[in-house]
Every structure is written in structure tokens, then in C-alpha cells.
Subunit: 498 residues, 2 copies
């Protein structure tokens, strides 16, 4: 019997959601790894796996063991031409192979730039484990304490500096790529390390999803809009379902019945476990609502929200709302039809890397509004959030640190006369777009917004089914990158002319 | 009897020199503090002393005790007008009061901008001691490990963010000031935290004095040039003196005689101790070769190198070269005539903060060339340097880290399309000018170079004796800062118009 580790799905491309209802930290996303390496898929691109020795703490000189960071490098390990560019992917919170295999855009366009492709793994994920193993790295708050964004950026910078030196190509321009959390890293790295990289394509990078920069209900409102857009009745069925679910859970044997009806491997302890599971499906569906079949998060049909809503809307008389809901989310959790039961508790320790990051720096306040959202109403409760982090890890979050370190408030003023060569690309179907940069900041800090795009669709490999707007968006990106490289080499050439 | 703690002098405004000859780390500068607070001087400016609670490690979540960072704030503690600018001095490696008292330019110009003046102390200096006391903070490599530049910049950013919030003036533009190491901090902070500060005046900030960016003999060549410029015979006497000193040291009772002739409080163990002492005097004289009397480093006459060379050159027949040298350096070490003997060993623990910084990040390679320098020939020997750091602290330097973190190589390309609003001001008499930015990088990253300026003379309070070029330089700086502020407020105003 195949069990389906559903809670893993909460991971998504990443990012912590505080799930609706009265909880603070339950339902935090877990590691992606199992999804990152689908068992039988052939590796999509050719690369070598290499390791680079890193300081565990770049910003102190405490006596800590170094660790080996994994990176993947195009299998030639060298350029098609000397001093060619490096296309560098800033690895997210997961196994880097998964990102390498799912970021076809970089592989697709590298040959025409004679660029060397490098995908760098983020510390504490995949095989890039401090202290020698995941078990040791994730042992406790002390061992986890060096899992921070600033350290990850410093890793990338140290790796690139060393790589260029070893290749005797110190003048090679570096272009950064990243999607989602990786996109945030790409943007921040361009801002913090302009001497290392000449530009960044930051796709679906919600660098403004902190503090009070954007309204906290943005994310869930956008998810809800995506469903409403497909079908108002679908949206309303989902909105209605939470109460039904709660009422049913209060019945005698109600939780047992719900567990059976939703084909869970274990019995529910409370209805929240189930509403988390459902909420996750809707959120992830909004992220991967691509116009063609995909298996990025899960094997899914084209326009999966449309399919989900079709299931929810097209029911026989007498079908209950929960039956319709189950039929709908099964599109997400069981499109292949191979799953016998769904396992909601696959990681009893709750020690995933993103959980830690969410409990330290990555505090993204999220609420769910009564008016616009199809999710249960929920107001972000920082005190409860902090308590949960203290309970889980003994660590106190620094909710204002990211904006102190990277900015975000009034970003236009801060960056208008500072910084250059960043593309923020976003699709408005993507619920993370609400926390991203959607307007041009300056002549070279550009927002590319597509109405029908979902979570970093532009970074995916091109397919025959790509709609015109996507082809166009990618061409714009290619031309902007061309411009950065042209300017860079012109600048270099001018030294020799003078 | 008054002893004079001469080795303290090696501190200077800061900066580690590897002193000529065959050593790696001996002669490292020590803390400034005693000089920083001359006993009987009245405080030059009116400010309050305040403290701000900081994370000891901003970039990890290790369980470390917070510490209280001291800052000085203009005594009103508020602006003359709402949302006025903050003029923020980035504290160097010393007691902040010393910098506040010696950076009159900021105090002089603040009223005309209605600016609030803040001087922030650098962690591990003055009263900003982690672990509660200097003794505990400086106990060992573990306790010292958070004394890094990146942490100091994060301190400044956290302090400013909190300060503006508490003053309900989040939109106040911040202008950074700093001289020497403080200037490096100001420039780097503008680059790393553009959302915190709109511009920086980085005076005498040798941000290029790392790795192989500038030739390693730059510093000592510039010191030598300053002496040669005043008097070729003076330069030659100094150049000649090292050999005489060494030969004399080899005689029976040679060291004893040298100790007596140079009025040292203790007997020399070797001639290097004496040559360090002399070398320091020459280097510091070059830095503070101001055109008017000053007591920044030491009480000194106007144009002190001219005075030193006058002593060295104008000797009676039969005076030995070492007697002339002694007469010369006495201008530096004993201009007041109050010193009975000179103490070369005042800090037996060698645990000054800059020593640690030089043994970790601040590795500035320095050589002394046979051809152009008046100092003994010396080639920077990194292996010996590292060994000494391992011996002194058990710490291994990261000589390439600063350029990885902050850049420096090919700075023009890196910053031409990135960054704005930085003034690099330098006087060519200052030996640190050789490692600084001496050419405009872009329209708003400006180099102001004065031929006759010494170490950050522009930051000193204006005096009636200021030469025209200095008045002019300061006016240019004021106008540039005015422009930054004008642009900032225009940008803000435009939001309300649109």
C-alpha cells in the first residue's frame, strides 16, 4: 500500500505559511527533498557534483568546523570561451538537484551566452550539511544556528570567488538566477555583493513579505482570487466547507469519519490537521497553476485549479460539500491515482530547515481576511508565533531583522539611486506575487509582470505549449541579460582603449 | 617620573602595519584609549551618552548574551525639525568620545542641516564591551570572535533602525561619516545598507589596502615621500640610521647604550624594538602632518615633519646620526618636553582589538621597498603573519575575506552602475591615501583629493588657520551632502504630488 506523505507538501517551493485558524506554528512546511528527487525520473541536465569547503560562520571567528557545500556545474566544468559569463543559481531550501532539474530556463539559454552553469546548494539542505550529517546539523538550536540567509549569501560569494580564481577567470561576469526563496537570495545577493555578480533574475521573490510592508492577508486573498476567477461556486464551496468540517468533527466519531472519508492513513486528532492539509493544497495549487501539465510540486494536469473546481462544481445531486472538496483536492494529492491513503504526519520531529528559518529570520506575517478569503479567518498573532518557536527550538525570532539587513520598506526610494540590473519577474496568479516587487524601481531594476503566470513559470524549461506571453517574457529577460553583459564587456573593453 | 607609553602610539587612528624588517606581527598597534581621552581637556561638544542592546552575533542564532553598545547623541536628543537628517558617525577602533571630540566637521555643519548628530561606538571598544567588561570580552579567541566589521555594520544598522522608530522619524535620511577605519565602515555601510543611509563621507578610508589591489609598498613609500619632500638629507639620514642602529646593537653593551641614548624606561631586548618605535613615529607623523598645531595623536606643532627634519638636519658637527634621529622623533614623542623616559612595553597581553582584527579579517599586506623607502627593506610574508596570529590568538586569518565580502578588485566596474552618494576624501600626504579611492567612480561616487592634506583633515573642526584648499574641500563636501538630501526630499515629495 502506498502512503502519501502529505505534510511534506506543505513545503512547497518553500516558504512558511501560518495556516488559517487559531494556531501559530503548526502546519509549518517541511523539507522538500522527497519531492525534489522523484524516484524514476532521468536527470534532465548534465552536470557534475562538486563540493567546496565553507566557513560555518563567515561573520565571526568562533572555532567551528568547516563544512562542504555541494554545487552542480555544467559537465564540461569550463567555458565555451575564455572569460565567458557564469550563470549561477542561488539554491533554495531543498536539494539542489531538484532545482537544477526544474530550472530549465537557465540551461536553455546558457549555450547562446557561452555561459558556464552552476547551481549552488543552500547550507543545511540536500547534501550540504554542517557537522557532517543532517542528523548532527539538525540536532538542536545550537547546531542549527548558522542556518541563516546572510551565511548562505556569503557561501555563494566565497564559492564564486574561489571558482573564478581556480578557473583563472576572475573577470567573468556572474548573472544570478533564483526562484521563490532562491529568487530572494538572488536579489539580495545582487544588492549585497554587487562586486560578485553583475545582475540577477529574481523570479517570484517575495522580498516584501515581511513586517508590515504588504498587508498580511495578501497571500490568502490571492489564492482565493485564483479560485474565484475559475469559478465563484467553487470558491464558495471551499469557503463553506470549513464550518461543515468543524461541525462534523464535533460529532461522535466525527473525526473518525472524516479520517475515513478523506482516506487518511491515521485518524485525525482534530479538524485543524485536516484543514491544514486542505489549505496547503489550495495554496500550492495557486502557485503551480501552470497552463500545461507539470510535475514540479506534484504530477498535475494543465490549469489544475480549473480541474479542481470542475470536480468541486460538477457533482451529482446528494453529494455533500466535503465529498466534493475531497474530489477536488485529490487532483492535487492524487492525480496519478496511485495513492491509497494520505499520511499527514511524516516528520514527527518537525525539524525541517525552513521551520527553523521561519522561527529565526523569515517571519512572514500572514492573515486570512473574512471578506476576501475563502480560508478560515485568521489574524497573524506574533506572540503565539514566538511562543511556538520558543517551544519548538528554544529560539526567539527576530521579526524585524530581515528589513534591517536587506531593506524592504520604501524600497523605491532606497534603490532608485542605488543598485541596478535586477529583474523581478512575477505572475499574478502566484500568491507570492503580492509580496514581491511589481513595479519598476529604476531603469535597470525592472518588474516583469504577467497576468496569467504562476510561481516562477519563467524559470521552467521552454515547452511547445508555452503561451505567447511566456515566450515574450523570457525574450525580454534574455534581452535584459544580454544588455547587462554587453555593458560589462564594453566597460572592460574601454580600459584597453584608453 | 612620567613614563611615556610609546607602544600605544602604534595605534594611530588605527590600522595595523607590519613593521619593516623580518617580523610578522610584532609591533602591532594597540588600543588608542589613553590618547583618546586626554586627562584635562574639556569635552569639545555637548552630547548625551546612551546605550543600545545589540545581538552579539547578528548572523547566527547561537545562544549568546546581548551587549550594550554605547552611542553619543547631540544633547537635545531630537531634531530641530521633524524628519530632519541624522548625521551618523561610524565609530572606529577606539573610545567613541575621542572620535566625537576630534570630528568637529560633523558638529560644525549639523546646525545648518538641522541634523541630529549621533556617534556610535564600535563593539569591543570604549565602553561597548560584550560579556560585560573588557577583561571578559578580550579573554580569548572565543570571546573575541564576534569582533568583526560585518557585525559592527549590523550594529550600526540595528541602532539606526531602532533610533528612528523610537523617534517616530522613520523617514529621516541618514548621512554617514567616518575617518580612517571609520571611513571604511561608512563607505561599506553605504554599500551594504543603502536602505539605512542615503550617503557617506568616507575620509581617508583605505578600502583598497587588501590583497594585491594596491602594491604592498605603497604605504611606506608615501611616508618616505613626505620626508623626502621636506628634506632629502633628512630622508637619507633616516634611511642610513637603521644600519647604524643595528651595528651599534651588536656591540658589547650596545643595546644598553641604545636604551640609554633613546631614554627608554626599560632596556632593549633587540634593536627591532627600537626600530619599531622609530618607524611608528615616522608613519604617524606622515598621517598627522597637519598645517597647524594639533593634538589628535600627540601634541604636535604645525607641519611636524618639517620640524622633525629641521632637528635631524640642523645638527652640530660631531653629532651622530642616532643623536639626530632621537632629536627628530622627540618632536613626535615628547613635544611638550614632559616625558622623562619612553615605555615600549605598556600592554604585555597584546590583546588590543585592532590586533585581533588584523589577525582575522583586516589583513593589509605591507612591504617596504629598497628603492623608494627610507625604512628597512621588508617583504610582506603572509606565512609568518599567519603563524604569529596562530601563536597570539590561535586564530587563522582570512586574508581574502574582505574583498569577497566588500569587493575592492576592479572597483570601478563593480560600482560604476551600482551604488551612489559616497565621497572618498583623501590628502596625498596621508600614507593611507595610497590604498583609498582617488578617482571618481561614477557621477555620485566622488573622490576628493587634496595635495597637501594629511589623514582625514577634512573631518577636523574648522580653524582660523585652515588653508584655502581645505575650506574649499569642505564646501564641496557640504554641497554634495546638500545634493543628496535635496534629492531624497524631492523623491519623497514626489510621492505626495503623484
Amino acid at each position: 500500500m502506498r502512503r502519501f506523505a502529505t505534510t511534506l507538501v506543505l513545503v512547497s517551493l518553500c516558504f512558511f505559511f501560518v495556516f488559517p485558524c487559531c494556531r501559530a506554528q503548526r502546519g509549518r512546511p517541511r523539507l522538500l527533498e522527497r519531492f525534489a528527487r522523484p524516484g524514476n525520473r532521468a536527470r534532465a541536465y548534465q552536470y557534475e557534483e562538486r563540493y567546496f569547503r565553507q566557513s560555518l560562520d563567515h561573520f565571526s571567528f568562533a572555532d567551528l568546523p568547516p563544512f562542504d557545500q555541494r554545487y552542480l556545474i555544467a559537465n564540461t566544468g569550463a567555458w565555451a570561451r575564455p572569460a565567458g559569463p557564469i550563470f549561477f543559481y542561488c539554491g533554495n531550501e531543498g536539494d539542489i538537484e531538484w532545482f537544477a532539474d526544474n530550472t530549465g530556463f537557465v540551461w536553455d539559454i546558457a549555450p547562446r551566452f557561452s555561459a558556464l552553469v552552476v547551481f549552488a546548494e543552500h547550507r543545511y539542505y540536500g547534501k550540504s550539511m554542517p557537522y557532517g550529517s543532517q542528523e548532527k546539523a539538525y540536532k538542536n538550536a545550537e547546531s542549527l544556528s548558522y542556518l541563516t540567509t546572510e551565511q548562505a549569501l556569503a557561501d555563494f560569494s566565497a564559492l564564486l570567488t574561489d571558482l573564478k580564481r581556480n578557473l583563472s577567470s576572475e573577470e567573468s561576469p556572474v548573472v544570478l538566477f533564483g526562484g521563490s526563496y532562491g529568487g530572494m537570495l538572488a536579489a539580495w545577493m545582487r544588492l549585497k555583493y554587487p562586486h560578485i555578480a553583475i545582475g540577477a533574475l529574481a523570479s517570484s521573490a517575495p522580498i516584501l513579505q515581511f513586517e508590515d510592508i504588504v498587508p498580511p492577508d495578501t497571500f490568502y486573498d490571492l489564492v482565493s482570487n485564483d479560485f474565484k476567477r475559475e469559478s465563484l461556486s467553487c470558491f464558495e464551496a471551499i469557503k463553506e466547507s470549513w464550518k461543515v468540517l468543524e461541525t462534523q468533527g464535533e460529532d461522535n466519531d466525527g473525526l473518525l469519519k472524516l479520517s475515513r472519508d478523506f482516506r487518511l492513513c491515521q485518524n485525525l486528532n482534530n479538524t485543524e490537521e485536516l484543514s491544514d492539509w486542505l489549505s496547503s493544497a489550495y495554496s500550492y495549487l495557486a502557485m503551480v497553476d501552470y497552463p500545461y501539465p507539470s510535475d514540479f510540486m506534484m504530477p498535475l494536469p494543465a490549469n489544475p485549479i480549473k480541474e479542481v473546481c470542475r470536480k468541486i462544481d460538477n457533482y451529482l445531486d446528494g453529494t455533500t460539500v466535503l465529498e466534493r472538496i475531497f474530489a477536488g483536492v485529490s487532483i492535487y494529492y492524487n492525480y496519478t491515482g496511485n495513492v491509497d491513503c494520505f499520511d499527514l504526519e511524516d516528520d514527527p520531529h518537525g525539524l525541517s530547515g525552513w521551520n527553523w528559518q521561519a522561527c529565526t529570520e523569515m517571519v512572514m506575517p500572514m492573515s486570512s481576511s473574512q471578506e476576501n478569503s475563502m480560508f478560515p479567518a485568521y489574524d497573524f498573532d506574533y506572540a503565539a508565533y514566538q511562543d511556538q518557536c520558543l517551544q519548538d527550538y528554544g529560539v526567539r525570532p527576530r521579526p524585524r531583522w530581515i528589513t534591517t539587513e536587506f531593506g524592504g520598506h520604501d524600497i523605491k526610494t532606497a534603490l532608485k539611486k542605488f543598485g541596478s540590473n535586477i529583474i523581478f519577474s512575477n505572475g499574478l496568479l502566484d500568491p507570492w506575487s503580492g509580496g514581491s516587487v511589481l513595479q519598476n524601481v529604476s531603469e535597470s531594476i525592472i518588474a516583469l509582470v504577467t497576468e496569467l503566470g504562476a510561481h516562477h513559470i519563467d524559470l521552467r524549461a521552454s515547452t511547445k505549449e508555452d503561451p505567447d506571453w511566456l515566450v515574450e517574457q523570457r525574450n525580454t529577460e534574455i534581452n535584459l541579460i544580454k544588455g547587462w553583459l554587453y555593458d560589462y564587456y564594453q566597460e572592460k573593453a574601454s580600459y584597453y582603449i584608453l
